[in-house]
Symmetry: C2
Subunit: 477 residues, 2 copies
C-alpha cells in the first residue's frame, strides 16, 4: 500500500491567473465571473476531510457554447479547470490543488426534454437529483439513483454515483444513455443517441462517466427513467449481531430476488440517526428494506424476506406503509452521513467505500468490525449491502494529525482486505485525491498508465481537473 | 450520407509477412501457426456480403501470455492483427483489408471459474454462448445475451452484442464486470473487479466492449449471471398488419412491464422460418413472447399482454409451455438469418440494424416497409422490437452489383431515417467496415476524431484490426 496519501495534501505551486486571461473571461461572463474570497471558498471545499484549496476564480457558465469558449481560453492561457456541481463529493475531487478556475454549473440546471413514452429525459448537469424527481412527478416515472447528498446530475455522472436503489436499478453507468461533453480544446461532442442500445463505435458515454472532470465538461445528460412501481412498502428490522443482519442480506441477494432497496446500519449509526432525525429505532444492527412492484410481487418478496429475517433472529418488521412514513425512513437513511458528523462536534468525516463480491461481504464486514474494535475513532457503519458496498464514517478531529493517520491506517487495511477479496476500493465515491494510491493497488500500474494515456489523448496539457485519479506531470509551456 | 461504402471494398496494398516474423511466430507456436489457404480462407470471411479478404497467416493462441508475445512480435514487425472468435459477425469486422495475421481464440475456450453465489463467471474469449450455458446448467444460473449465431463471448464483447433477451437483461454492456486485455505493446491489463459496482478510475471495461478488436485483444471476461426464472412461458401470435403488431409492442414496453422477450417477425420471415425449421406458423406478421418470473408475476404479465394483443386484433396465443417447445420456438427465431438466406439460393445477406427510441418504432418500421415496397429485393424483417431494434435481411446476388447498390440505397435511407429519429445506425452488429460512413453521420466528425485519438493512444502504429470503425492512416515505418 502506498503511503503518500497518509497526510493531508497541500495546494501545489502558486499558479496565478494572468491579466490577459482575467480580462478575457470577465469580458465573456461579466458578473458571472467571480474572484471573491467567499465564492472561491465555497468552490474550494467538499465533504471530504481535506482542508479547503481554493480556485483562483469561479466561472458561472450558462451553455455548452459558453463552456467551449471558456475552455478554449483556459487552453490558450494554460489555466486548470475544475467542473463544480453541488460540492458534495467526499474524496477531494473539486479541490484546486493546482489552482485555476472552478466551472460552476449551477446556472445550467434545466430539464431540457422529457420523453415519458421512451422513459428518457435530457437535463443540464447542474440539476440536482431531487429537483429532477420533482419535475418528473406528474409523469409516473422517476430517476432512481440517489447518493446521500442531493448531488447534481453532472457530478453524479462524473463519479459514477449510485446509492440505495442501485441493487435494483443499477448505478449511473446503467442509467445514462448519452452525454454532451465539451473538451479542453472547445470541441463539443455528443456521445450517444436516445435509442436503448447502440453498437456504434467506442463507448464514449461510459468513458466520461466516472472520469471525475479530468477528461471534459459534461454539459447535457440523457437519462433512462423508470416507471413508479404500482405498490411500494418499506420496513426496518433489527438484529442482535451485525453478522446476522449481513448474512440475511447475502441470502436475499443469492435468492435472486428483485428487491428495491436493502440497507445496513450499525448500532452506532442508528444512534446517530435517531438523534439527528428524531426517531426512536432500537439501537441495534438494522436493515432497511423496500419492496416494490405489483401487489402480488410485493407480497411474494415480503414473505420470503420475512422468513429469512426470522430465521436469522431478526425482529419483526417495523412497517412504513404510507408514503410519508417511507419518505421519513429514507430521508433518515440519506442523512446518515450528516447525522454521524453530529456524534463528535467539530469533527470531519473520512468515509470509506469498499465494495466486494456478495459472497465475501459478511467476512469483510466482520474483519472490519474487529479491526475497528482496536481503535478509539468513532466509525458508524452504513452500507448498500445488497451491492456488497459499505461505508465506515470515521469521525476525526481535523486538528489532530494522529487521528487522521489512524483513520488512514484503518482505511488502508480495509481496502487491502477488499482488494484481496476481488473487490473495489470505491463502490461509488470515486478516486479523487484520496484514493490514488488505492487505485494503483487495485488496478495495477499498467491499467493506470492506460488511463493516463487516454487523458493525454484528450487533454494533452493536463488542464482538466489535474492531479485527480492519478498523478500527472505535464510541461504546460 | 457518404457514398464510399456503396461498392465492395478490396484488400488494400500487398502486405507480406517478413521472413523474420514468420520464423519468430513459427518458433513460438509451432503447429499452431498456419498459412494454409484453407485456414486463411476460413479466417478471411464472415457472415457479411463482402467477398473474402484473407489474412497472411493464422495464430492459434492459448494464453494471455502467448497473446502478449505475439502482439509484441506484431508491433516489432509492423504486422496488423485481427482477433477472431467464431467468424459470425455481419459487418466485415474480421476481413484482413490490410493483411496481417488472424489471432484465433478457439483454443482459449475454457470456463475459468463459476461463482454461483455471486452470480459471476469468468471465461476465456473463445467459449461460445451456448457452450457457456451448457456449463452453467447445473447452477440454476444462465447468461442471457443471445445474438442469432452461437457467437464467441469474446466476439460478443467486441461488438457489444445483444439479442432477444436484451429487453429484460440488457446487452453485453450491462453484463460484463471485467476484462483481461492484451495491448499491442504486450501489456496485460485487468479492467475491473468482481464487485457489482466500482467507481475506481476510468471505465476501461466499457472502452473495450464494442471496440471491435481495434484497441486490444480480450483474453478473459468476467460476466454477470442471472437466476433461471421459476416459471417460463412462451407464446406467439399473429396480426393482420405489421403496424398492429408493432403498436402492440410499443404499448407493452410503455406499460413498463418486465417482459423477458418480445420479437417481431414479418410474413416473409415467417415463411422462411416455416420452410427452414419445418414449422407451420400462419404466414402473417407475428410476435414471439416470453414471460418469466414467479408464477404470479407470469400470470400478471400474460393477462396484460393478452389484453393488448386482443385490442390490436391479434390472434390467440399459440403456447409453447414445455421447455422442448420453447426451445423449438427460440431456435427457429435464432435461425431466422440462415432461414432467410434459403429464400434465394446462392444469395448473400446485407443485414440492416437500426435502433430507434420506442416511441418512433412504429413510424420507422412503416416508412421502411413502404420503401421496401418499391424494390424487388427480398427483405424479410425480424426485430428485437422491445428495444426499438429491427433488421432487414436483404438478400442480394453477389454477382449482381446493381442489387448490392440498391440494397445500399435502401440501407442509407433507413439509417438516415433512424438517425433523424434520434436512433442509432447499429443496435448490436457494430460498425465494422460497412457502417463507417454511417458512424460519422450519426456521431459527428468530432466524436469520431475523439475515438481515433483514443485508438492512437493505445495503438499508435494502427496495427489492431486496422481500418475498422473509422479510417486511419498511420505511417508504420
Amino acid at each position: 500500500m502506498s503511503a503518500e496519501m497518509m497526510v493531508p495534501v497541500q495546494r501545489k505551486g502558486s499558479h496565478r491567473l494572468s491579466e490577459a486571461f482575467e480580462k478575457a473571461v470577465r469580458e465573456l461572463l461579466g458578473a458571472r465571473w467571480s474572484q471573491s474570497e467567499s465564492v472561491r471558498e465555497h468552490h474550494g471545499r467538499d465533504e471530504s476531510s481535506y482542508p479547503p484549496m481554493l480556485p483562483d476564480g469561479v466561472a458561472f457558465v450558462e451553455s455548452s457554447e459558453e463552456v467551449s469558449t471558456v475552455l478554449k481560453l483556459c487552453q490558450a492561457h494554460r489555466v486548470p479547470v475544475i467542473p463544480f456541481g453541488n460540492g458534495s463529493s467526499v474524496e477531494g475531487h473539486i479541490l484546486a490543488i493546482e489552482g485555476g478556475i472552478s466551472l460552476d454549473m449551477s446556472r445550467m440546471a434545466r430539464v431540457l426534454d422529457i420523453h415519458a413514452e421512451d422513459f428518457t429525459v435530457s437535463v443540464q448537469p447542474g440539476l440536482s437529483r431531487k429537483q429532477l424527481n420533482e419535475e418528473l412527478r406528474s409523469t409516473g416515472l422517476f430517476f432512481p439513483i440517489d447518493p446521500g447528498a442531493d448531488a447534481s446530475i453532472g457530478g453524479m455522472c462524473a463519479t459514477a454515483a449510485s446509492g440505495t436503489n442501485a441493487v435494483r436499478y443499477g448505478t449511473m453507468r446503467e442509467n445514462v444513455l448519452a452525454l454532451t461533453v465539451v473538451l479542453i480544446d472547445g470541441r463539443i461532442i455528443r456521445t450517444g443517441t436516445r435509442a436503448r442500445k447502440s453498437s456504434a463505435g467506442y463507448d464514449l458515454t461510459h468513458l466520461f462517466i466516472g472520469s471525475e472532470g479530468t477528461l471534459g465538461v459534461i454539459t447535457e445528460i440523457t437519462l433512462r427513467l423508470h416507471p413508479q412501481p404500482e405498490q411500494i412498502l418499506a420496513a426496518s428490522c433489527s438484529f442482535p449481531r451485525i453478522a446476522d443482519a449481513v448474512d440475511t442480506v447475502v441470502q436475499i441477494i443469492q435468492y435472486g430476488m428483485a428487491i428495491s432497496r436493502v440497507e445496513f446500519i450499525d448500532a452506532l449509526a442508528v444512534q446517530a440517526i435517531n438523534a439527528y432525525s428524531k426517531l426512536d429505532m432500537p439501537e441495534q444492527p438494522t436493515l432497511f428494506f423496500e419492496f416494490a412492484g405489483s401487489p402480488a410481487a410485493v407480497q411474494e418478496q415480503v414473505a420470503i424476506v420475512a422468513g429469512l429475517v426470522a430465521e436469522a433472529g431478526g425482529s419483526d418488521f417495523a412497517w412504513a406503509e404510507q408514503q410519508e412514513d417511507r419518505n421519513r425512513l429514507w430521508h433518515a437513511r440519506h442523512q446518515a452521513y450528516f447525522a454521524a458528523l453530529q456524534l463528535k462536534p467539530g469533527c470531519r468525516a473520512m468515509a470509506t467505500d469498499v465494495c466486494v463480491p456478495i459472497s465475501r461481504l459478511a467476512e469483510c464486514v466482520e474483519a472490519t468490525v474487529a479491526d475497528l474494535a482496536t481503535s478509539a475513532i468513532p466509525a458508524p457503519i452504513v452500507g448498500h449491502v445488497g451491492d456488497g458496498n459499505f461505508h465506515l464514517i470515521m469521525l476525526i478531529d481535523p486538528e489532530q494529525p494522529e487521528e487522521w493517520e489512524e483513520a488512514e491506517r484503518i482505511n488502508h487495511r480495509l481496502v487491502a482486505r477488499a482488494i484481496a477479496m476481488e473487490g473495489s476500493c470505491t463502490g461509488e465515491h470515486g478516486i479523487g485525491l484520496h484514493k490514488m494510491g488505492f487505485l494503483r493497488d487495485q488496478a495495477g500500474d499498467d491499467a493506470v498508465d492506460v488511463m493516463r494515456s487516454l487523458k493525454q489523448a484528450l487533454d494533452p496539457l493536463n488542464l482538466m481537473n489535474p492531479g485527480k485519479i492519478f498523478a500527472t506531470q505535464v510541461a504546460r509551456d
